[in-house]
């Protein structure tokens, strides 16, 4: 450690530094003066926009379905589509993403089908997670998207570890982990950044600073200038970016990926955005923030901003917009109807995957459960459906010694 000795006490607070916000596109869809347009092909730009639009529509429809009582729970990405999709679009599709829970836009960009979303949301027999987790806990091995886990921030040190494995494998891939500014208060965040920096790991820490952790505003979450300055404490590359500007998010993440993959160094990105919707279907923001505040951010809508830019470039048209919107709404509704009618996962899925193989003790408990369900099938309609009820309750081995 290099230090200069001084002979008068001089305390510092961090105010000596200020971290600017990288922005390319203004809300009117035009580039800022002096901004350089990222090298984004027409098809790529359209893929990004279509993923953002599809995410917005999925969220609207599913929130409505939740309000109709068809779905137990939902979380919207609304307002943060540019941050999530822009970051994902700058990665290689085989890079690992370890998200928090509000990043369905990443899956949408990578091609998770509406059917796949629905099967998870309804926890039916086609859900990859076998109906074990609450709605929105998606995962996809083929799309390199780690299954969501409810405990906050646990995915951040895991991303460091995953990326360390990628570095040793030498396959040229990195890991990007998403988390909120609230989750960055957890110890796991600090552990993850420190270890990534010490061990020189190709990982991108992508903070969605959306202003709120449920009801707690960012000013009650931390006293410093956001999350970005924390990178200095770990000697890590950092950039703050306008999270509602998809071009800026894309370009910042593209360059971050180069640092990660070519130099095996971690990067922290803080995307400044706003959670336009409630925290979840169980939350009501009117209790802790004003409509006026929401309106300020609604005017900065990231989907609209990209659309304006695309229209100006003549890479998108209003006709396409309405056709696409209508087609998406229809697909979501049709798929929803199919998904909610599908059967539940079979009773066996209650005990599989706890271990690679079912243990004798668990098998014993399961046999006991099956005997009980056969006795009271009406009380357990889902479980009873996958059992042969004609098997007499006393023909099963009691399993006693």
């Amino acid at each position: 450690m290099m230090t200069e000795y001084v002979h008068q006490p001089d305390f510092m607070t961090g105010d000596e530094f200020s971290i600017p916000t990288f922005s390319l596109l203004c809300p009117e869809g035009e580039l800022h003066d002096g901004a350089i347009e990222p090298a984004l092909e027409r098809d790529h730009a359209r893929r990004i926009y279509q993923a953002m639009l599809a995410t917005r529509i999925l969220d609207e429809r599913m929130m409505a379905a939740q309000r109709q009582g068809r779905l137990s729970f939902y979380m919207q990405c609304t307002g943060e589509e540019a941050a999530v999709v822009g970051a994902t679009a700058a990665l290689d599709d085989a890079d690992m993403i370890m998200a928090q829970y509000r990043e369905q836009g990443a899956l949408m960009y990578r091609g998770f089908s509406i059917d796949e979303f629905m099967n998870q949301l309804f926890g039916n027999e086609l859900d990859y997670g076998k109906g074990r987790q609450m709605p929105i806990h998606y995962g996809s091995r083929k799309l390199h998207y780690m299954t969501i886990s409810s405990p906050l921030a646990t995915q951040i040190p895991q991303a460091t570890g995953y990326a360390y494995g990628q570095k040793l494998a030498g396959d040229g891939h990195c890991t990007l982990t998403f988390f909120g500014e609230g989750a960055a208060s957890e110890g796991d965040f600090h552990a993850a950044l420190n270890m990534a920096s010490v061990h020189q790991v190709p990982v991108i820490f992508f903070c969605r600073n959306n202003g709120y952790a449920i009801s707690t505003p960012a000013v009650e979450q931390f006293a410093a200038d956001g999350i970005a300055p924390r990178a200095f404490g770990y000697h890590m590359h950092v950039i703050r970016v306008d999270g509602n500007d998809v071009l800026a998010v894309y370009e910042a993440t593209r360059q971050a990926r180069k640092i990660a993959v070519e130099r095996n160094q971690p990067v922290l990105i803080e995307a400044m955005s706003y959670r336009l919707a409630a925290h979840s279907s169980s939350d009501d923001p009117s209790g802790y923030r004003s409509k006026d505040e929401e309106e300020v951010w609604r005017a900065k809508d990231p989907v609209l901003r990209l659309k304006k830019w695309l229209l100006k470039k003549q890479w998108w048209s209003e006709e396409e917009e309405s056709t696409q919107q209508e087609a998406l709404r229809r697909e979501v509704l049709d798929t929803l109807k199919r998904a909610e009618k599908r059967a539940s996962p079979p009773l066996e899925s209650l005990i599989s995957d706890v271990y690679a193989d079912i243990t004798p003790a668990l098998q014993r408990q399961f046999d006991q459960l099956k005997r009980h369900i056969r006795r009271y099938p009406d009380a357990y309609p889902r479980g009873a459906k996958s059992l042969d009820l004609d098997v007499g309750t006393d023909t099963d081995s009691q399993g006693e010694a």
Binding site: G161, D188, D353, A401
Partner: protein, 325 residues
């Protein structure tokens, strides 16, 4: 065959695993060039390089979070927590992440490659924070395997099995025996089964069950009992999760009596689980109440450690009382 103490046997197992599979990676606090505070990872960094055997920052939740991610990626991490007393910052990563990774993803992802090694137990004048036996916190967590070896031979064979097991394993090493336990250990590769108890001594009058360092203490107690003509059957559980209830049940059906001993406090201890299972499956065969000989329901003491510990005399008394019930 070579003569090894438990640390040498563990070091030898890690060496074999790392030589065989380049995906095996050892890390933790002071694990690198120093070889760990107990020297279990000695010379591994010299042999396999800094990328595969290294020091981590001092952050247990980070070590296990990192290990979970590394295992999910397909590597085979062997993470060391320097003392089991310091595993609690990583409790969330172990209980909510390690244990549930496979289940919650419907087997899309798993961390089965992960092994967590940590020294546990008292008898070394370690006081509250260098003595605890936290096994029961983890045996309450489906998805984990919990393994405890009693001697160098068992340590090597069980650790190799743990590293290669398709599920995550918490490997609790009895640190009192690290250097004290010395025995014959084959130099070649071998594995011992996880989930299977071992009958270390046959007998007909009473069954005595334990694991890890407590097996040595039970051995002394049984010697005293045998002098009085009590034929004891001794069982080392070896795995606490999953645990081999059948072997204990079979033994108790024969002897009709059971003593279980562990260093951890009585209330909520794993002996309670064993007692409940055995009374359920051997109810009509029991000749006396199942006895638990354990630590007290206190934090682990220092000066009065000898009084706190379930030593051979306390176990001997429990055997005697059970037989004379």
């Amino acid at each position: 065959m070579a003569t090894m103490n438990m640390l040498q046997a563990i070091n030898n197992a890690l060496d074999i695993a790392m030589a065989e599979d380049e995906k095996v990676i050892c890390f933790g606090e002071d694990v690198g060039i120093f070889g760990g505070v107990f020297r279990a990872t000695s010379h591994l960094q010299e042999k396999y390089g800094k990328a595969r055997c290294f020091n981590t920052p001092l952050v247990e939740q980070g070590i296990i979070g990192f290990a979970n991610g590394l295992a999910a990626q397909g590597s085979v991490p062997v993470a060391e927590i320097q003392f089991a007393d310091y595993i609690f910052p990583a409790f969330d990563q172990i209980v909510n992440e390690t244990a549930k990774f496979r289940y919650r993803s419907g087997d899309l992802f798993n961390v089965g490659g992960l092994t967590i090694r940590t020294p546990y137990g008292g008898g070394i004048a370690g006081g509250l924070y260098h003595s605890q036996s936290p096994e029961a916190y983890f045996t309450h967590t489906p998805g984990l395997k919990v393994v405890v070896p009693r001697n160098p031979y068992q340590a090597k064979g069980l650790l190799l099995a743990a590293i290669r097991d398709p599920d995550p394993v918490l490997f609790l090493e009895p640190k009192r025996l690290y250097r004290a336990a010395v025995g014959e250990v084959p130099e070649e590769d071998y594995q011992l089964p996880i989930g299977e108890a071992e009958i270390t001594k046959e007998g007909t009058d009473i069954t005595v069950v334990g694991w890890g360092a407590q097996m040595e203490v039970i051995g002394k107690a049984v010697e005293l009992a045998e002098e009085q003509g009590i034929a004891c059957e001794v069982i080392d559980l070896r795995s606490l999760l999953p645990w081999d209830a059948d072997t204990v049940v079979e033994s108790v059906l024969k002897t009709g009596r059971l003593v279980v001993s562990h260093e951890a406090p009585l209330t909520g201890g794993f002996a309670g689980e064993i007692a409940a299972t055995i009374q359920e499956r051997c109810f009509l065969y029991l000749e006396s109440p199942i006895a638990r000989v354990t630590g007290l329901d206190t934090p682990f003491p220092l000066v009065l450690e000898k009084e706190y510990l379930p030593d051979h005399l306390k176990i001997f008394e429990a055997i005697r009382e059970s037989v004379n019930f």
